[in-house]
Symmetry: C2
Subunit: 325 residues, 2 copies
């Protein structure tokens, strides 16, 4: 049995998408137990493997993160994080306020001793369908070279345990592939990483090749990572929009659009990184998964599955032993 | 009359594309004079407004920049930059080694007194077709907040003079729109910029909106700017590749491809930033334009036109008066 704590109230379409996802996950995974935190008036399920706990507060998407988790002690998010801290659940999942969830992770669940800065990790799609682990996408905007080295070590374990890559290649995101390229942060990080025997460091990788399997894990600071993540999303969306406009611009193109509709949809699905699950805050003494903000029930379901696998693969325990003190 | 110095030997398809572009530019602009630097054996033109100067050396694409410009004194690139330094030409254009051209700009043409760090500027496409000025895309990887402020001031003049935007809006590239977002660099830069009366600062802009007219000028450090530039390019290319594969994957899709071929080509042209000319190194005491590396004759022609407009609009003089000491 694996027990996961879930925030029923976070996310744009909560609680409905959370309830749908929980129902499906409980049905699909016979070894899953859930502790669900939220407003009892909106709780509609009933299952022996779901324990419902009523909370009187919820954290809003625009709440100031640190203040919210300090003041709203009876919010579904805070109580979910406390369940992980107290060992009642192996991990937790929320689609709520990202900043508040990171703060809950840092201040309630807590860091693994020896991990200087936790990192927010996503799996992004590549053309081949293989995907890659990308971190940090925004936990720590002012990173130091030593932090990037630890990200590489955490990412190595994550790619091994969660994605099943035997000896994951680690790339350092940079503005050129040569060792001497970059800013002082990446130059220093390069020098630290190349000395490490416990990771398969393949050197610098460029942002232009990210969708083409340049490495299994790509490491960067939270400022750059968040920027690149948003740029990937925004560019794909803008190009998609232009393409759509072209397909609707005249009768001839509309016919073409009908012919390729299904296959285009398949491409779009391939590029949808919600398919790969949520973001994970790595380096914490428990599993904290953020389901994407505009999560569908399907994306939330993926995030629950992700927390379950992380628990079964003992990701936290391995990180504690190898990266921690 | 405007006189522009041109490096005939730089770029993947030099000298042919340079010669083609020069021929076209001389024909189109009756008030243009060119000093062309290169190997006399490969010079095939003959025109009263082209002055050819023979050089015995050339800088290769893989030469180490600073060493190359110090040692290859008789290279076409170095002599072109010297022509600007000595006031023989108002500006110069090369499609050669970017690093060497930046070094030529810095060490031969020289900075405007009072400008701490020159910035490399490109104009990028947006969906509307309007485009925006983006800087720094790689001149200075470790920027300080004061540098970003100067970029904003330089970008303001560039957008006004070169792109004809009356009161250009300036955005600071960041990982969120709120004032408190970002790393220490962007937080400090935000505070400096919001105090300035001489620029129309509109606050932080996000990487996801870059193609949707978020600002007339978007300012960032050279590390982030180079990263985003490559990511935009790479993502657009990867998505284009997937579309193309889809359109060739079966008979039905091939028919659709034929129907929309012309309109797709138009979208592609709209997104091709070579159409907007080359990159300009702003903050120097002369105009230095880098035509894109894999330049076509058309892109090189755009870069010549760009240098000519910059000279006519007295961009350097204006920067000297307003940003310089």
């Amino acid at each position: 049995m694996v027990k996961i704590a879930i925030d029923m109230m976070g996310g744009d379409d909560a609680p409905q998408i959370v309830l749908d996802a929980v129902q499906q996950a409980i049905k699909d995974f016979q070894d899953l137990e859930i502790i669900l935190f939220g407003d009892e008036k909106q709780y509609t399920l009933n299952h022996e493997r779901i324990e419902f706990r009523h909370c009187t507060e919820e954290i809003a998407m625009d709440d100031e993160p640190v203040r919210a988790i300090k003041r709203k002690k009876d919010s579904s998010m805070v109580r979910m994080a406390e369940a992980v801290k107290h060992g009642e659940a192996a991990g937790c999942v929320s689609a709520g306020n990202t900043g508040a969830l990171m703060s809950s992770g840092l201040f309630i669940v807590g860091r693994i001793k020896g991990v200087a800065r936790p990192a927010l990790v996503v799996t992004l799609p590549t053309i081949s369908g293989k995907g890659f682990v990308f971190m940090d996408v925004g936990a720590n905007a002012d990173a130091k070279a030593e932090h990037l080295l630890q990200y590489a070590q955490l990412g190595h374990i994550y790619a091994q345990k969660f994605r099943g890559v035997h000896n994951p290649s680690i790339g350092l995101l940079n503005i050129g592939t040569e060792a001497a390229k970059g800013n002082s942060l990446t130059k220093n990080a390069y020098n630290l990483m190349k000395e490490q025997d416990d990771i398969n460091f393949k050197g610098n990788v460029e942002a232009k090749g990210l969708m083409e399997d340049v490495a299994d894990v790509v490491v960067t600071d939270g400022y750059t990572g968040n920027m690149i993540l948003k740029n990937l999303e925004g560019t794909a969306k803008s190009i998609g929009k232009m393409f759509k406009e072209t397909l609707l611009s005249n009768f001839k193109n509309k016919i073409a659009g009908l012919l390729i509709k299904k296959d285009l949809k398949a491409v779009q699905t391939k590029m949808d990184y919600a398919e790969y699950g949520g973001s994970v805050l790595l380096g914490l003494d428990g599993i904290v998964v953020k389901a994407h903000g505009s999560s569908s029930a399907k994306a939330f379901y993926s995030a629950i599955r992700q927390a379950k696998i992380a628990a079964e693969e003992k990701i936290v325990e391995t990180m504690r032993e190898t990266v921690g003190e």
